[in-house]
Symmetry: C2
């Protein structure tokens, strides 16, 4: 092949907000698949808040990325060449690959995407990691019951928008918290949330006091002061699903806030972290979500940045709350 392969590398560990200087864009040769491997040409690339953690040199649930290494991402792409029996040229696959035009990976680490089922980009969103995160976090950790009051933040995001709709489908009253009037309008008018709060212009605590009698399930993607406000409304035996803490990921000092464990005694509430990779039965989630999508009971939206060269900006936008729905980078037409 004579084409070159554009790739993003981690140039430096960010301090606070990541900047373009923390990334380096280089052209390399297109890699060749070894035995058992597949060469994938990227169609869509995902940017996700968890990536900020992997840029940090700190112990977490995943190894940090090394400075000087290519950055990794959820990718949907086409198989260009295969040395793996289970996949052939033209197949569409999803896997953790690179911020690049082309990546190679062991075929066994990829899952095949059916282009007839839904647009292939959904394998990075509602029928991908964010959808599974919403499904297992909400149903398994949140333990919702019909009639429960559910609050979710980053509610217009890839995970939050699914959580809120699962809550509605499950017979719960659902309040979404998001950062713009365009988002809150979308949540209520299009996704069927009962209420939405714009945290940028409204006082979350005061609004919750008006809207709900107590919060039975709180699905937290954000942390920080929004979480402080919601904790004041937890019901007895409330469940708090800790899925993300994006408000804190760019902090340069250890974030501090009001201690809240006394609230947990008063309310006998449970706070539990969720990580989607602990669940193996993603197929169950996707089958159900695909059914709701097909019946227009669950809707999704994608926010698409064009061009691999603009991937860092798409990533930065997550921390500014710029995206409505799943933030994607479109790298190439199929």
């Amino acid at each position: 092949m004579t084409e070159t392969n554009r790739r993003w590398y981690l140039a430096a560990r960010p301090t606070g907000e990541p900047t373009r200087e923390d990334f380096e864009f280089r052209e390399d040769d297109v890699p060749e698949p070894g035995p058992g491997e597949v060469l994938v040409r990227t169609l869509f690339m995902s940017v996700d808040p968890y990536m900020r953690g992997r840029m940090r040199d700190a112990e977490s649930y995943a190894e940090p990325w090394a400075v000087g290494d290519p950055m990794r991402a959820g990718i949907v792409g086409e198989v260009i060449a295969s040395e793996y029996d289970g996949l052939g040229e033209g197949d569409v696959v999803n896997g953790e690959l690179e911020w690049a035009d082309y990546s190679v990976a062991p075929g066994s680490t990829l899952r095949q995407v059916d282009p007839e089922l839904a647009p292939v980009s959904t394998a990075l969103g509602v029928l991908g990691m964010p959808g599974a995160t919403a499904y297992f976090g909400f149903t398994d950790v949140g333990e919702p019951a019909p009639g429960d009051t559910v609050v979710v933040n980053a509610a217009a995001g890839a995970v939050g928008s699914v959580v809120g709709q699962l809550a509605r489908i499950g017979g719960c009253e659902v309040v979404g918290i998001a950062g713009s009037d365009a988002k809150t309008k979308w949540l209520v008018d299009e996704l069927g949330f009962d209420h939405a709060i714009n945290y940028d212009t409204e006082d979350v605590h005061a609004r919750l006091s008006e809207l709900v009698d107590g919060v039975d399930v709180y699905f937290d993607n954000v942390g920080g002061e929004i979480t402080d406000a919601v904790f004041r409304h937890l019901s007895v035996r409330a469940r708090v699903v800790v899925c993300g803490q994006i408000a804190l990921y760019n902090a340069t000092e250890i974030p501090v806030g009001p201690r809240k464990l006394t609230t947990l005694i008063q309310k006998r509430a449970k706070v539990e972290g969720v990580l989607v990779r602990d669940y193996t039965n993603w197929g169950e989630a996707f089958e159900r979500i695909a059914g709701w999508v097909a019946r227009d009971e669950l809707r999704y939206r994608e926010d698409v940045t064009e061009g691999l060269e603009n991937a860092p900006e798409a990533f930065f936008g997550l921390f500014e709350g710029e995206n409505i729905g799943k933030q994607l980078v479109k790298v190439r037409e199929r």
Copy 2:
């Protein structure tokens, strides 16, 4: 009756550490039981950290005490007069009564104590609310498994000392955190804890790094900086039982500390509050604990302050960590 009844009243809501000025000691007439009621003469009175919360004018799981009202406590006493069919003169009973020589209460709110089974004072400790708290908090919320590493603080207290021994009996490795060498020595030498840390002279984080590979169950009676240190050692799928936060109860401003929810994602850990009154089957706990006590597999200690007039000082001592084992006030010989 010609005897008078000494009673403690809440004179003022404490600001920060409670002082003697917040209490008033008065002599009243001995009350008379109405229909269905019983007159109880106090033998032992319990002082417990939760009482600090009821002196505060804030919403919690229990109504705050009103200024000017008699203070309430767990009492073991003798029935002096009964207008209730199920109890008769001379019976020993336990219930929530008053900081007083005599109290009346509906007979239906009292439980009879068998003086043959164990010293009657244990109905306020190892065979009372603290024992049941330890049993249900540890087994139901902590979900311990043999081989787990368990950390408990206020480990020489009424609840913590039972938790640690239940952990030992359950095949766990147990580390106690307490505030004096006399306490840590008692935990290891007498109660069979594997290790004990004196938080007053040792760095909890550094000592845990030496002693354990990870903490599977953390039973928290204290909160604050000790909890910050233990959170750094949580294992994947750790369970944190939030039973008390005595380090914070006298705070005059909202206590702040490092935000810790990100840790819960990394570790998929669960933090849950426990309140013993949510459990109805205390008899199950007492039967088992009594069996272990009888076989000398579970030991307890009582720290007895003599005289109702000294009850406030016994209460203040809880916040100074003065007691080893269950803090009681002995009001009268049986």
